[in-house]
């Protein structure tokens, strides 16, 4: 049984934001993550605010600058099959397609994917850990097979989203609406590291709604991809993954690169040093291997997740060679 709550279905974004003013409210988009959290009592809700009916949050539109604006309610299935996204932003289509199962992709939204809570099994289980306001991280000294190797700080979650790394690689910005107006920020600065605030994964205030995501126009010679390793052939979260966005010059050399890892850090993990190392070079077995080595520099594996280091190295090398 899911604990009881009140349910409201506002018919405009403004009404929704008003409804969120009360404490103890939660946003309901597709619900594929929210329902699990409520059922397992990861958190509680006095009132659930449905945003599923808000037309302001739907649709995929070409922006005037040649970019793309994607409504927060766009489903993962839509992202994975949209012809413009498939052509101009393949990393995003691949990220969406690699997430969850067909059923969950039909129901899960982009906004929910970016705002979903971590999958750390202690967090999801009956453990009052640091992220839930307790005073212990059970992953330290416990089973940390699926925890982070970068960016841990008292808490060692990995960010579960497969669209976020792709969108960061593609230079996405997110639009946020709240009681105090709206703001637009790079998706990269949307995520909050545990060292800054251990109880949340993003900058949203409780009465703010992520309304849409925008992508810059693709450069003429831009190629992108998302590659993910799972423990099984069917649906699963990433053990590790890499999103790439590369801009090539006429001679085949890399003019600009973004390299973003998933499944290994509390947020999409950009590796600026690898991006720099690739810039100005053609992608060869040597440059790909060198970039992959850079990506694992500084990794701090825990007791049971050392395998992720090798996965990252192999994934980055493979992904770079496949985009050449």
């Amino acid at each position: 049984m899911i604990p009881k709550f009140d349910y409201v279905r506002p018919d405009s974004l403004r009404q929704a934001i008003k409804q969120l003013a009360a404490s103890g409210t939660r946003i309901h988009a597709g619900g594929t993550d929210l329902l699990g959290c409520l059922r397992d009592r990861v958190f509680t809700a006095d009132k659930v605010v449905s945003i599923g009916g808000l037309s302001e949050l739907g649709g995929i539109k070409r922006a005037s600058d040649g970019g793309l604006t994607i409504g927060a309610l766009t489903t993962l299935a839509q992202l994975a099959s949209d012809p413009v996204i498939l052509k101009d932003y393949p990393a995003l289509a691949q990220g969406a397609l690699s997430a969850a199962s067909p059923q969950l992709r039909n129901q899960g939204t982009l906004g929910g994917n970016l705002c979903q809570r971590p999958r750390c099994w202690y967090f999801r289980g009956d453990f009052h850990c640091l992220r839930k306001g307790g005073n212990l991280c059970y992953a330290v000294g416990g089973r940390n097979d699926y925890h982070c190797i970068f960016g841990g700080d008292a808490c060692y979650i990995v960010h579960p989203s497969d669209t976020a790394p792709a969108l960061v690689a593609l230079g996405a910005r997110v639009h946020i609406n709240g009681a105090n107006g709206s703001r637009t920020i790079p998706l990269e600065s949307f995520f909050v590291p545990p060292g800054k605030d251990i109880t949340r994964e993003n900058v949203l205030a409780p009465n703010e709604i992520l309304t849409n995501v925008s992508l810059p126009a693709p450069a003429p010679n831009q190629r992108s991809s998302y590659r993910k390793m799972r423990a099984r052939g069917a649906w699963d979260f990433a053990l590790a993954g890499v999103a790439l966005s590369l801009r090539f010059g006429v001679g085949g050399e890399v003019e600009g690169a973004r390299v973003v890892l998933s499944g290994v850090a509390p947020m999409p993990w950009r590796v600026a040093e690898a991006e720099k190392a690739l810039t100005g070079k053609r992608i060869t077995e040597d440059t790909a291997r060198a970039a992959a080595e850079i990506c694992i520099k500084g990794a701090e594996p825990m007791e049971y997740n050392g395998y992720k280091v090798n996965l990252v190295r192999a994934l980055v090398e493979e992904a770079l060679l496949a985009l050449r």
């Binding site: 009140d6 619900g31 699990g36 059922r39 067909p102 039909n106 129901q107």
Partner: protein
């Protein structure tokens, strides 16, 4: 206090007006309140697909849908698949191919398969495997199920 919500919805082509508690899932509503127990309760976490139904033609896990979410939507469950006494071609094909062992996954498998065939009348084996990748089967090893979907006769698929 928790207020109940009135919704109107179409389930297996029949209109319903229902008063639901917001913390009820579509799975609870179907099984416990409407007696439609063909839809199975497995993990209740989106992992097994036993609860798969079609919402506006799309396969979703009913354990992760809140009852108020189906307001104004069209739901098809396993009970709506056959045409009276006449089984759906997919159901016939599952029987022909021994694709049903304990049967617990079968309703969900059939709904996932139906959503595929409605979009794509002659899928490849990979497309079939992808379409049922959110449905766990602990008995068959999947091969009979895949064969059953692939060999559902296209001419009979319209229904």
């Amino acid at each position: 206090m928790m207020k109940s919500i009135v919704i109107t919805t179409t389930i297996n082509k029949r209109k319903h007006e229902l008063e639901v508690h917001p913390n009820t899932t579509l799975l609870d509503l179907l099984r416990d309140e409407l007696g439609l127990t063909g839809t199975k309760r497995g993990c209740e976490a989106g992992e097994c697909g036993a609860c798969t139904i079609l919402m506006n033609g799309q396969a979703v896990n009913s354990c992760l849908v809140l009852a108020p979410q189906i307001d104004g939507q069209e739901i098809l469950t396993i009970e709506g698949l056959a045409d009276g006494d006449k089984l759906h071609p997919l159901q016939e094909s599952f029987l022909d191919h021994d694709a049903v062992h304990c049967g617990f996954c079968t309703p969900g498998m059939l709904m996932s398969a139906k959503s595929l065939l409605d979009r794509n009348a002659s899928p490849t084996e990979l497309e079939v495997r992808t379409a049922i990748s959110g449905n766990l089967c602990r008995c068959t090893g999947y091969q009979q199920i895949v064969d059953a979907v692939l060999e559902t006769e296209p001419v009979k698929r319209e229904t």
